[in-house]
């Protein structure tokens, strides 16, 4: 059993954790939920003794009657990996790219037992088998880049549990994965806790994830645990106001206009006919990433596009945006042919804009906001009153006109995504492609951005193509949903119908994999919330 008692951490003068008490019992799963910056990751790093260099911790972290906070580094090294294991959010970067997966798992055993390489590799083999990477298909000699995100997360789990630790800390372990993979990884973690009797501290900002798996839940806000209780009781009572706010945000669905449903009869805004796109694979051969896709989006319509990672969503999006050429078929926007490269007229490009997932990576850090937002004007020519238009766009997305002279680092993740929306809006496009545009945002910020998107669509009569692997968000903001699998559209229908009564097996498995809070636990008669697949909440 591991206890934190009165655990506080400060960085410089700033308190990041205040009096955190947690009790992590063998065979139990404790969910730690909260928004980014609430101190969830900092709690995990304090427990495993890997706080940033300038952080100072006080209080106690007790393991077998010993306080880890006062333990010398050499003894902590012996505890890390052996008594306490940890996995992180980003499976794509969590493994050493130059080492085989076998050696990476074996290294844990070699460090703690001085085992020779051969013995350690044979134990590593057993651990990899246990996490669902069985022998002939997944030899020890594979490198991380030869595995998918979910498979890499399994390797990370294998090395964290190689020594059968007393405690496994999982910091947003499924946030970067799609719903189906998320469900598999959560199953694996629950199975490990059951079979090996370890304690699991599961950090997430997705309430539905903890609802499905955790025995107890602690809610964190500004470095404090505001509420802690057995899962069902916490969900049913929601004693603390912050817990209630968090719940409300995660169940939020933007208000809808009555007559919003498809204006039939109008000519399509976007029309794809038998679109085909292929990639050459590194080992030879070709992958048909987009296979004979036909679809239409009518003016002002909001359409969702969902599917597992690798189903061809991104490839299709790039083709629609005129970034990659098609091998066959056609794409028309407003009756004009979309082609990749220079021969697509700027006037046509100006009719669609895109908002990407990463609010941190999609801006030049050296440009001021006005220049960033005015950038799409290179398609249409910059009007003389462009500064007024930038100010207007900023106000439309709920920011201040005076923000125009700031730089992007001065804004939070949610504000950056508003700026990205302002940049897309400035030339009044007919279609905005939202590529996982709210996935990186915290639940409360996400609720606000979804409301904003719904309002803007109403006031500007734009169409949305909303790409996401989060079905609950798609359901909230779109009228029609397209489900993609292996490069094909396998289901196309009204959002409610596709999600509540999926017909295709692929849609059914996506819906089944959605983590959900049991309806009986929530007071309000709201639809089940989906997973919040996000990259936020990473470190405080």
């Amino acid at each position: 059993m591991i206890l934190t008692q009165d655990l506080s951490v400060t960085i410089g003068q700033v308190p990041v954790l205040s009096a955190v008490d947690l009790r992590l019992d063998p065979g139990t799963i404790t969910g730690l939920v909260g928004e980014s910056g609430s101190g969830k990751s900092m709690t995990a790093l304090a427990i495993i003794g890997l706080l940033p260099r300038h952080a100072a911790a006080s209080g106690r972290i007790m393991l077998d009657g010993q306080n880890l906070l006062t333990m010398p580094e050499t003894r902590l090294c012996d505890i890390r990996g052996r008594r306490i294991g940890m996995i992180f959010q980003e499976p794509m970067t969590a493994l050493n790219p130059l080492m085989t997966i076998g050696d990476q798992v074996a290294e844990v055993l070699r460090v703690h037992h001085g085992m020779d390489r051969k013995a350690a590799l044979s134990r590593a083999r057993a651990r990899l088998d246990r996490v669902g990477l069985p022998d002939p298909r997944f030899p020890l000699s594979l490198y991380p880049h030869e595995l998918s995100g979910g498979q890499r997360q399994r390797v990370a789990i294998a090395l964290a549990i190689a020594e059968r630790p007393d405690l496994l800390i999982a910091d947003e372990p499924t946030t970067a994965l799609d719903v189906t993979t998320q469900a598999q990884i959560l199953d694996l973690l629950a199975g490990l806790v059951r079979d090996e009797g370890m304690a699991l501290l599961l950090i997430t900002h997705d309430l539905a994830v903890v609802a499905g798996i955790a025995d107890r839940v602690a809610v964190m806000k500004s470095g404090r645990i505001v509420e802690e209780a057995p899962t069902e009781r916490l969900f049913r009572t929601q004693d603390h106001p912050y817990t209630r706010r968090l719940f409300a945000a995660s169940l939020h669905v933007p208000a809808r206009r009555e007559h919003e449903h498809a204006r039939s009869g109008t000519t399509p805004l976007l029309q794809l006919r038998n679109a085909v796109r292929e990639y050459r694979l590194p080992q030879g051969g070709r992958l048909r990433a987009v296979d004979d896709v036909s679809l239409t989006i009518r003016p002002g319509e909001s359409v969702g596009l969902v599917g597992e990672s690798g189903c061809g969503k991104s490839t299709l999006t790039r083709a629609i945006l005129g970034l990659d050429p098609l091998l066959g078929g056609s794409i028309e926007l407003d009756g004009m042919r979309v082609t990749a490269g220079r021969n697509m007229p700027p006037k046509l490009r100006a009719r669609m804009q895109v908002v990407f997932q990463d609010p941190f990576g999609s801006f030049d850090p050296r440009w001021r906001i006005d220049r960033l937002i005015a950038e799409p004007f290179h398609l249409t020519g910059r009007p003389p009153d462009w500064r007024d238009q930038v100010a207007g766009a900023l106000e439309e997305v709920g920011l201040d006109a005076s923000d125009a002279r700031k730089y992007i680092h001065e804004f939070s993740g949610g504000q950056r995504q508003r700026i990205a929306i302002a940049r897309a809006l400035i030339i009044r496009p007919r279609l905005i492609v939202l590529d996982e545009a709210v996935s990186a945002l915290d639940v409360r910020v996400r609720a606000q951005v979804l409301d904003l998107l719904a309002d803007l669509r109403r006031s500007h009569d734009m169409a949305y193509l909303f790409i996401s692997h989060d079905l609950s968000v798609v359901r909230g903001i779109t009228e029609r949903v397209l489900v993609m699998q292996n490069g094909r559209i396998v289901e196309d229908g009204r959002a409610e119908q596709v999600i509540d009564a999926p017909r295709h097996a692929c849609t059914q498995s996506l819906v089944a994999a959605m983590p959900r809070i049991p309806q009986a636990w929530t007071a309000r008669p709201v639809p089940c919330p989906g997973p919040d697949i996000s990259h936020a909440g990473r470190g405080a």
């Binding site: 050499t74 890390r80 130059l98 290294e107 703690h112």
Partner: protein, 313 residues
Amino acid sequence: MLRYVFRRTISLGLSLLVASAVVFAVVELVPGDPASFMLGTGAQPETVAALREQLGLDQTLPVRYAAWAAALLQGDFGQSFTYKTPIAGMILDRMQVSLPLAMMALLLAASIAFPVGIYAAARRGRIGDAAVMGGTQLGIALPNFWFAMLLVLLFAITLRWLPAGGFPGWGQPGPAIKALILPAVALALPQAAILARVLRSALIDTQGQDYIRTARAKGLTAGQTLLRHALRNALIPVLTIMGMQFSFLLAGAIIIENVFYLPGLGRLIFQAISQRDLIVVQSAVLVLVAAVIAVNFLVDLAYAAIDPRLRRR
């Protein structure tokens, strides 16, 4: 991996071909006719014409390139205009000094830079790191000829451990090596300073990576993490710099060669340029270009040996 090596080899061959054509063309474009230069200003036009014919200068450019390249492949670089001796022999003699000198200097630079760079990265932001950063700044700023003179004063004149200059030839291996030690040290120090800085910053970048955190969570100490996980990942930029340094050391040692009276390649090229011995310049430049291309080829192979992701390309 085999495919990668094969493709690199093809690219090596193509680079050599293009480089030889460019070197040939550039020397052709330089004004001045070697024949009239060799015969002096008072020579009869008929004599010049005869020499031109003898040298093959009267033929068309492609024909002369083909003949030149074919001869090159058989190790025939032609004859020096000034010394009337085969150029291949001259370059080979000079290479016997320049190649070991460059190798010694690079080896020395690496053996200083690796411990220093690793130490600085491990002590990042502390006093040891600051000392290394200051010291390497000085090492880059100080001109190596000045440093060479200090070395001569101390080790050759005061202590009399090593010769002050000259090269006895490889007939006497002991003295030959001794003659190269001081020049190698003088060449190595600035390179070591650059390399140590590159390694330090590459290591610091790598240490911010997620897999370093994973390694720490496994129970590795900070030192083990640095050596087992960070170092290999940081090697790519370091190797790139080392490849460039080797090429530079091969021909760029001219000042040091002069300080130590070494018959190296740099001095040969310098003399040939001042005497307008264009065919020697051409040959020496080509040898250097070939050396650079060959070193880059080896660096590419080393990349692939380090990084499994590159092997598939």
